[in-house]
Amino acid sequence: MYLSDGTTRPHYLSYDHWLKEQPAERLAQKRAEADALFHRVGITFAVYGQEEGAERLIPFDIVPRVLPLEEWVRLERGLKQRVRALNAFIHDIYHDQQILKAGVIPAEQVLCNSQYRPEMQGVDVPGGIYAHIAGIDIVRDDEGEFRVLEDNLRVPSGVSYMLENRKMMMRLFPELFSGHRVAPVDHYPDVLLDNLRSVAPTGVADPTVVLMTAGAHNSAYFEHAFLAQQMGIELVEGQDLFVRDEVVFMRTTQGPQRVDVIYRRIDDDFLDPLAFRPDSMLGVPGLLTAYRAGRITIANAIGTGVADDKSIYPYVPEMIRFYLGQTPIVGNVHTWMLRKPQDLAYVLAHLPDLVVKEVHGAGGYGMLIGPAASKAEIEDFRQRILAAPDRYIAQPTLALSTSPTFAGQGIKPRHIDLRPFVLSGRDITIVPGGLTRVALREGSLVVNSSQGGGTKDTWVLEG
């Protein structure tokens, strides 16, 4: 919001003016009102490892994050370019593997990856699209440049908070929306449904789309129920589906009904107990066979995880050059790959300044944040790295910018990131904005909701 010399950035001027007029009590009262509303509506997430049925709110910050249109337009172009290249990469990997043959990415990095699904080799998917829904995590570095921190191509979540946070802001501060031209986001479910219908198996005129959840105890259940309701489609669990003669049906009160597209919110491993984890109670026996026969579309496709692994992430700019012949518009955060000896040596010498991540970790677990870690923690991590260097990457810690955040007593800077949702169907579409996550603890760099992060509304200002 502010420049380093203390002046307000131009696109924040009008909001800042409004904010300075608000008494702290009013903000605190609005904040409490938001919590009460979120509880009543049941916008909660389940917490793993706590008493059964424990539900928590994701803390909501009432100060929006504001992006000027010209910054957004550039970011949007960069994201579309990136997702186009990622889809091309996944298609290539499961077909000719040209990028491996050209030596751009070492073959063992891909083919030995646990997220690589040999079952998908040679399978054609509608439109050649694998990552129908991508959540790309963006940070701003200390030069003000946007950079991609992570590509989430499996079952990215959080979009319901993008939508609910906007609704909440409009309810709490209607006056702000008459004074600012904030680009709307509430058409997201329509675009998503339209995209999902556009990738139905060929020959299906009026496809039936369902959303597949692991059930009411899943941490993101609210979002699953919310999106299904917004799109007007059935929210199914594995037990509601069955496969007969390579066709997928759901059990309804009027008998079996054919299903054409599954927007699944469970991992590959649990989709089909016959093909993947045999102990999965969440999946549908025979689903993979129906999928390989082209009788059902699964979004995101099986096997997309091969492209969002942290060990593949450093190669995405190369993919953009390789498949599109273009220069990346939005770059990566500089990343050291510890399987390379010179990178390993550098990182081991600079551990207190760096963030080290396990390549298969997710949700903010299994990482070292150098500046925040104790000497003992750093030494412990050093041993873990030395034991298996190829399981780790490292990045500089400057990667998170801050945004003003309401912190009980007043407005304080807190670290943030941004997750726009990129939808691929006939075209690539991004609703303006995304989910801004904020690390609420002072100095913390971890924005994950499982680790004390919150969210805020994200405004793209149209002029």
Binding site: R40, A216, F226, R251, G255, P256, G286
Partner: protein
């Protein structure tokens, strides 16, 4: 509609109806306990009622003797007892949460905040003083819930399954409460006498029928008239005839390829009550009649589960 969705809606409304029924029962007995009364009579009425509702054993596991206050606390607030009002509200909310996308947001928010508020009220409710206020509040919330259901839901399958759950539960509960008074209704019991005004007025209050009775009969309470009203009156919202009629018409609206026999049985149950005469029922024995009716309700419940809610696996 997904079979599982119908199943959750059906159980959601059964649990709502069950909590309301229990709240009425506690409320009626609690009011009586505030009047000058014989503790033995109150305890006996509670004993009969718990037996008819099949919750006496669960109570006996916790308490040796029937003490009204202990019963009130057990039926209302006991979290460990799956049949308490609090547990039923929780179960209703859990079922609603599993299909929240199918409910209108008004209905979901009403049920969700009822559970959240009930949970926090319950932890502040002293079993000695506040039970009356608590069940009063539960009744109000559930009246609100019914209003929101009827006032906001599309008249589609979801609505019909919700109604089926409501009326099946209600039919079961009315028949059981009458069973609890069966000793006064044996053949040969004097049709004119008022064997125990206390127990009978509690029954009427528990079914929201006390004032209605006075209006319809302008007379002292007699078991036969009460039974007549609660079994055969079409205009009485909790009567067996009314419940059977609603069940039949809602079932017809959701019929599928395999449900013809279930619909026929529901229609038959309605027809039997529609054409029944009180004197015939009394002659062949009211307890037997109620037993038979409860058997039909159980059978319908099983058949609905089989035809709609948990159809056999076909792969």
């Amino acid at each position: 509609m997904l079979s599982r969705t119908a199943d959750h809606l059906y159980w959601m409304s059964r649990y709502i109806e069950r909590s309301e029924g229990l709240a009425r029962l506690v409320d009626a007995h609690y009011r009586m306990s505030l009047l000058p009364h014989d503790d033995g009579v109150l305890a006996e009425s509670l004993g009969h009622t718990m037996k008819a509702l099949h919750i006496e054993d669960a109570y006996r596991e916790r308490h040796a003797v029937i003490v009204p206050r202990a019963v009130f606390e057990f039926v209302t607030l006991d979290r460990e007892f799956a049949g308490s009002i609090l547990s039923c509200l929780r179960a209703a909310r859990e079922n609603a949460r599993a299909v929240r996308g199918t409910l209108t947001s008004e209905l979901w928010e009403t049920l969700n905040s009822t559970w959240l508020d009930a949970r926090s009220l319950a932890s502040r409710t002293s079993p000695h003083d506040d039970i009356g206020r608590f069940v009063e509040w539960v009744k109000e919330r559930l009246h609100l819930t019914r209003g929101v259901t009827i006032g906001t839901m599309l008249r589609d399958e979801a609505f019909h399954f919700t109604r089926i759950g409501t009326f099946l539960e209600r039919a079961d509960s009315t028949a059981r409460l009458l069973m609890a008074r069966q000793d006064d209704l044996r053949p040969g019991a004097d049709a004119g006498s008022v064997p125990d005004p206390f127990e009978w007025s509690v029954l009427l209050r528990a079914l929201s029928a006390f004032e209605v009775y006075r209006r319809l009969y302008r007379d002292v309470i007699t078991p036969v008239k009460v039974a007549q009203m609660l079994i055969l009156r079409d205009d009485m919202p909790r009567s067996l005839l009314r419940c059977s009629k609603e069940l039949y018409s809602n079932l017809k609206s959701v019929g599928n390829e395999q449900s013809a026999e279930t619909e026929r049985r529901a229609g038959e149950m309605h027809a039997i009550l529609h054409f029944a005469r009180m004197e015939d029922i009394l002659e062949s024995g009211l307890p037997e009649f109620l037993e038979h009716y409860l058997g039909r309700v159980r059978d319908l419940g099983d058949r609905i589960a089989h035809d709609f809610l948990l159809p056999p696996v076909e792969a």
